[in-house]
Amino acid sequence: MLYRNHGYQAATPSTLPRRRSRIAAHPGRHGPRDGVARRDLGFVVTQASFPVASIRLEHVTLRRGGRDVVRDLTGTFAPGSLTAVAGPNGAGKSTLLQALCGLLPVASGRIERGGLDGRAIALLPQEGRLDRSFPITCRDVVALGWTARLGLFRRIGREQYAVADRALTSVGLDGLGQRPIGALSAGQFQRVLFARTIVRDAPVILLDEPFSAIDAATEADLMAIVRMWHRQGRTVVAVLHDLDLIRAEFPNALILGTDAHGWGATDDVLTAPAIRHARLSASVPPLAAARSVADAPLAAPVEEAA
């Protein structure tokens, strides 16, 4: 029981559904592109089964800078689910992730985490949120992922660094451990953050725009890691802009708009009207938005919208 060993405790593990490995559920779906995943990625976890609670949102409203950015959102991230969050700029995607991991209090409503605390929910922040000029090596950043499990003061020893090194290898940064993070490309830095998240080994993983500002090869490699997390039964939530990627890889989707949200199976949620509506409703008041939806051309540039 991995999370018991590390002090994580779901509310009542015996009553919660046990997620089985998803490999059998999607045979061959991601087969040919799993280049990275084939490199021994499962080393940190001892079993691919996470007795983890779901995260339920009930009428959650989130406020930032005196403005409601997410209004009245209700739904559930089921244990082991893989959900993409899409929506226009300013719709509160990053704000939602911060609230999910407890960095931001909810303005109203509530988030029921079923006993998962801040340590059990790993957030991979948006690229600009980290200070890339801080003089620290890749290896140290990855090893700092241990603090979530060991506490802030427990020694990060040779064993922990060995795991950090393996995580670096598995994201394709073999031998770059001693390089300061300021000397990395955007894609390499994103790989470092993925390695840190691998080391964190959390049952719930939140990714804030993980694929912005990186090239296609890096995206394919990192997507393989997301798939691995999903197969291991972790709950993964990712903020994404690429609707084609969401359709191809993410079983569930959440579209955030200011007045209406869509949440469910990707094929049901990611319909053309819903996309147009979400895009328009973020900046336009509801009435005007409804009118513009009717007027909007059918071939709206959806990629830009998300």
Partner: protein, 270 residues
Amino acid sequence: MRRALAGCLALSVAAPPLGVFLVLRRMSLMSDVLQHGVLPGIAVGAAVGGLSVWAMGTGGVVAGLVVALLAGWFARRTGMGEDSQLAGLYLVALAAGVALISAQRGVDLTHLLFGSVLAVDNTALLAMAGAATLTLPVLAVIWRPLVLESLDPGFPGGPLGGASSGGLWHGCFLALVVLCVVSGFEALGTLMSVGLMMLPAIAARHWCGSLAGQVSAAVALAIAASVVGLLISFNVEIPAGPAIVLTAGGFWVVSLLAGPREGLLRTRGG
């Protein structure tokens, strides 16, 4: 003179690591605010408890902590223009301090602002050494949280988790800065005591890429600046504060020009 040297060497070990973190966290201005902020407290301490090191020191620490809290509160409440708030804060604090000190007879404003080697008696030396002794272990303990928080403020780690713990470490850190600023005021003067903290830290950026390296380089530069500065002060009869800070400033200029990292003479065209 010997006491001043011992005290400055103690501060040279303790203060520059704090300076390195201040620089890395882009809080260089905060050090200025704190050193001005302690001045009214020192004045009030002198008025209440006389010219003893403890009275003025306690007043200074209290005032410094109040200013640090105020600055943090302003930053959170307004959410913008943090540096302008800080500038306002330190101008007011400096004016209040000078006014309060001038209102009292028998207090030498120049000594208080710019330091005097002769003012360092055993008590003052004890204060400087004590501050240094307290700073180093506390900094060692909060080192990892500070690194984490400087690097990635959104990384919830440890049992406290969440955003609240970040504020705690930040508070500890600022308290250490206040302590070092106040403890140095007898020798260096309130207006100069931050010089030993910041200038070596800024200069160290040009010598070493890693955090540990920058801290070591900053300590080495601060020690050298203390020794050279005090010798100049003793022989030329200028106050110790400006002498040490000018020496540290000289090291900084040399580092800026000739340092292996981003030195102006080494990297051409950018």
